[in-house]
């Protein structure tokens, strides 16, 4: 454990260096958080328009007017891209990881503060570029967030496939560069800047999850960046990486010999680890919060660490399960399918351990805990549809239907968002020095849990009945038209759920200014961020460097004076000095 290379004892003066181009990981963390908050409302608004259009096809809508088939496809492309990159990757890792990780390991800042600032502003630029795609001639692209070539590679393949698609892929490339910088920073910080006594096996599970996520990001985003550059070349320089000899709109295109499957392999080599990039930090937060509010050590700390490591490891070997129907060799489907089943095992272990943590506990129902419990429920529901989709023979029926949409929304969408909600309510007092409103939080939790289940559970039924995804209308295929009543139900559920999200935002901003003042350790938690003042000083620990003597989850230790032992408390005979 090296000592920090730089000590930032003096906080910068002046608004711009303090809040805009700040080098402080806490400010950068909040910048990421508010960027993701903006993005999630954009993404949610797009989904609202889609849900309205599906059941009232002829209605003109606010801001967009008449929805044409290509408008619908542009909405879904932008919804997916914005949510996956600028929300699910940005908030849990860039936001909370940035804010909390250095404090939890006892460091004064990230290892490379300038790189950290650069990675946020690069992400911000990426967001501006993707939003710009709405406003150029032809509008946003219609090829879906997966951007399958040749649809995404040929400018004349549809409206939005001109400049809009160029901006889309450019934005993703910019995002990749930002994420690579961020990943390097997280890995270096975790390995080099841990305080004395903070061994790897004493790190909170949140730190483990951000660390493993950063490793996944480092390996995955490089591949997507390269794939994106090749796509830009196919689109604009006449190369043929992804495009064979084809005829579009009666015109023979100038490409020859490219492979559409190459894009899918490269995209999903990134795309599958990306799923874990979105959900791993949520798992970390859920573990942290469940242990804190159960007043019990996390059940199977080491098993949790090994489970996350094996999820990360297997996460790179399963990308082909997105391609069972693609024309890829049917033999390789065997391997991808078995490996996908393997990745279900550590996920199941985590669930067992979360239940084990709450078993024989004394659960305090504060809002962070509610969201963490919701996370476990959603993780189970979203996870159990996985073994259906992992079997090629069932994928014949389910691939590219609403079953898939329901599956990934529950697990990487809503479960990950519940992780973000839990994290927001849990660390808000530390970030802003005030408490969030528990009543508003509780109401928001109940409506959102019931509401998201009402939206996404029916998608599984629709998928089994053969409802194909990415259809702007269900009027053309008779068997699909019959499924419209269920779609209507989902739209109404979406109205209520989306409306409830304003409660969260009101609570957030109201509490920021009007909430009751928070103490340094309002949740009686054990990890290092709760040993420092609220909010933490510029260098996190006011010139002192913490020394760690205990594991991260020492709750309910028999014989201890309080029901918890903080990581920095002096060594004691009570309980375990280390996590077994």
């Amino acid at each position: 454990m090296a000592t920090p290379a730089t000590v930032h004892s003096h906080a910068p003066q002046g608004f711009i260096r303090k809040y805009i181009f700040s080098l402080d990981h806490k400010v950068i963390g909040l910048q990421y958080f508010f960027l993701a908050l903006t993005a999630v409302f954009v993404g949610m608004f797009l989904s609202l328009l889609m849900r309205i259009h599906l059941i009232w096809p002829t209605a003109a809508l606010p801001l967009v007017g008449e929805i044409k088939p290509e408008t619908y496809l542009a909405l879904l492309t932008m919804h997916g891209t914005i949510m996956v990159f600028f929300v699910l990757t940005t908030a849990p890792q860039g936001g909370f990881g940035n804010y909390v990780l250095p404090i939890q390991i006892g460091a004064p800042d990230m290892a490379f503060p300038v790189l950290n600032m650069l990675s946020f502003w690069t992400t911000f630029l990426g967001f501006i570029v993707i939003i710009a795609a709405f406003f150029v001639s032809g509008g946003a692209p219609l090829h879906g967030w997966t951007g399958y070539a040749p649809l995404s590679a040929v400018q004349s393949a549809g409206p939005g496939e001109g400049l809009g698609a160029d901006l889309w892929i450019t934005s993703i490339a910019i995002f990749c560069v930002a994420s690579l910088m961020g990943a390097l920073n997280f890995i270096t910080t975790t390995l080099d800047l841990r305080a004395k006594g903070m061994t790897m096996m004493r790190m909170p599970l949140t730190v483990w999850s951000w660390f493993i996520t950063a490793i996944l990001g480092l390996l995955a985003f490089g591949v997507l960046l390269s794939a994106g550059i090749l796509l830009l070349m196919d689109r604009n320089l006449g190369t043929s990486f992804y495009v064979p000899l084809i005829v579009v709109n009666g015109q023979v295109m100038g490409h020859k010999g490219g492979s559409p499957l190459l894009w899918q392999h490269l995209f999903w080599f990134f795309g599958h680890p990306e799923v874990y990039i979105a959900i791993l930090p949520g798992m970390g937060v859920a573990s942290q919060v469940l242990s804190t509010f159960s007043r019990k050590p996390i059940f199977g700390y080491k098993a949790m660490v090994y489970a996350m490591l094996s999820i990360g490891f297997f996460g790179f070997m399963v990308w082909g399960h997105h391609m069972f129907m693609s024309g890829m060799s049917p033999y390789s489907a065997f391997a991808f399918s078995i490996l996908t089943m393997c990745i279900g095992v550590p996920s199941a272990i985590k669930t067992f351990n979360w239940l084990g943590t709450m078993y024989k506990a004394r659960i305090r129902f504060k809002t962070p805990m509610l969201y963490a419990i919701g996370f476990v429920s959603l993780f189970v529901s979203g996870g159990l549809s996985g073994p259906f989709l992992a079997q090629p023979v069932l994928d014949i029926q389910l691939h590219d239907t609403y079953f898939v949409v329901g599956h990934f929304h529950l697990i990487m969408g809503v479960a990950a968002i519940f992780g973000i909600f839990a994290a927001t309510h849990y660390w808000f007092p530390k970030m802003f020095g005030r408490m969030m409103n528990e009543t508003m939080g509780t109401i928001h939790f109940f409506i959102t849990l019931a509401g998201t289940y009402a939206i996404f559970m029916p998608m599984h039924y629709l998928g089994m009945a053969g409802q194909t995804r990415r259809y702007s209308q269900f009027t053309e295929v008779a068997y699909q038209t019959k499924l419209l009543p269920l779609q209507t139900f989902m739209t109404y559920a979406a109205f209520i759920t989306i409306a409830a999200q304003f409660l969260f935002v009101i609570n957030l901003f109201w509490s920021m200014f009007k909430g009751p003042k928070a103490s340094d350790n309002p949740w009686e938690a054990t990890t290092l961020e709760w040993t420092t003042t609220t909010p933490p000083p510029h260098d996190n620990f006011g010139g002192k460097t913490p020394v760690v003597h205990h594991g991260p989850y020492e709750y309910g230790v028999p014989g201890a004076p309080k029901d918890y032992i903080m990581q920095t408390d002096p060594p004691t005979d009570a309980g375990h000095s280390d996590t077994k």
């Binding site: 088939p69 049917p330 065997f334 067992f352 023979v393 053309e476």
Partner: protein, 268 residues
């Protein structure tokens, strides 16, 4: 609060399960030889995952209610876990997941590793923005050449798939916009696309396969019930994706022969 959570989690779980078990929305009745195997594997997976779903959600609801902090609640049971339990449930999950997977893979292998039966009816499916065309090789059993330079989607039919009429075997090639298949005979399908990726999906036939430009993908299946089935494109292919729709008519061998002869006659 514990009780409210228990009630909500149980309500969600039981309602969701009810609609699965009641089969209010379910796989459409199958009409191909694979139905039996695919639906069997689906049912098996559904039962196993359903049990795990119920067990996990119901115990989650129960645990949060049972172990809520009350003034009279006993102190927590201080434990960092139990290695034996971890090993037991890791092993069980591994066996369950891998076993389930292996059971399904023989079906996949028979469909995808083996070639079509001899005497299978040959059909070539061509997808394009936003239509399906079907080509039958005719009496000579040979598909004539097609050329990209001849493809004219707006003209439809033979011109759309780029049929090279100078090829002698083109004389008896039949290109149609509707698919006819004889019942109880294996279909040797070859799938192509002229522009972007499409996916040929017929839920009742338990059949789906992407049509990829640059590839000619061979697949086989056997329709077993007479009827009309809708084809829905299952891969996003552009603004008309939602209406890239077609029909498969499964008819008796006799009717199929009549239909094909009539198309041949039309062509002359």
């Amino acid at each position: 609060m514990g009780l409210a959570l228990l009630l909500l989690i149980w309500l969600i779980t039981l309602t969701s399960t009810y609609f699965f078990v009641a089969k209010t929305w379910w796989l459409p009745a199958g009409a191909s030889a694979a139905t039996h195997w695919i639906d069997g594997q689906f049912q098996l997976t559904f039962i196993i995952m359903g049990i795990v779903f119920l067990a996990a959600q119901l115990s989650l609801g129960y645990i949060v209610w049972r172990y809520r902090a009350t003034p009279s609640a006993p102190p927590v049971s201080y434990s960092h876990g139990n290695t034996r339990l971890e090993i037991i449930w890791t092993t069980l999950t591994t066996i369950l997941f891998i076993g389930l997977n292996l059971m399904g893979s023989s079906v996949w292998a028979s469909q995808r590793f083996d070639a079509a039966e001899p005497g299978a009816v040959q059909v070539e499916v061509t997808g394009m923005q936003f239509a399906w065309y079907f080509r039958y090789p005719g009496a000579d059993g040979t598909y004539a050449k097609t050329k990209v330079s001849l493809m004219d989607p707006s003209a439809g039919g033979e011109a759309a798939v780029g049929l090279d009429t100078s090829d002698p075997s083109a004389k008896d090639d039949v290109v149609t916009g509707t698919m006819y298949l004889p019942k109880d005979r294996e279909v040797d399908l070859s799938l192509r696309s002229v522009d972007v990726i499409h996916s040929f999906f017929v839920p009742q036939l338990r059949f789906k396969q992407d049509a990829v430009p640059g590839l000619n993908i061979h697949m086989h299946f056997k329709p077993t019930e007479i009827g009309e089935y809708e084809i829905a494109c299952a891969e996003l292919c552009g603004l008309g994706h939602y209406k890239m729709h077609g029909m498969v008519h499964v008819v008796s061998q006799e009717d199929f022969d009549k239909w094909l002869a009539a198309r041949e006659a039309e062509k002359q």
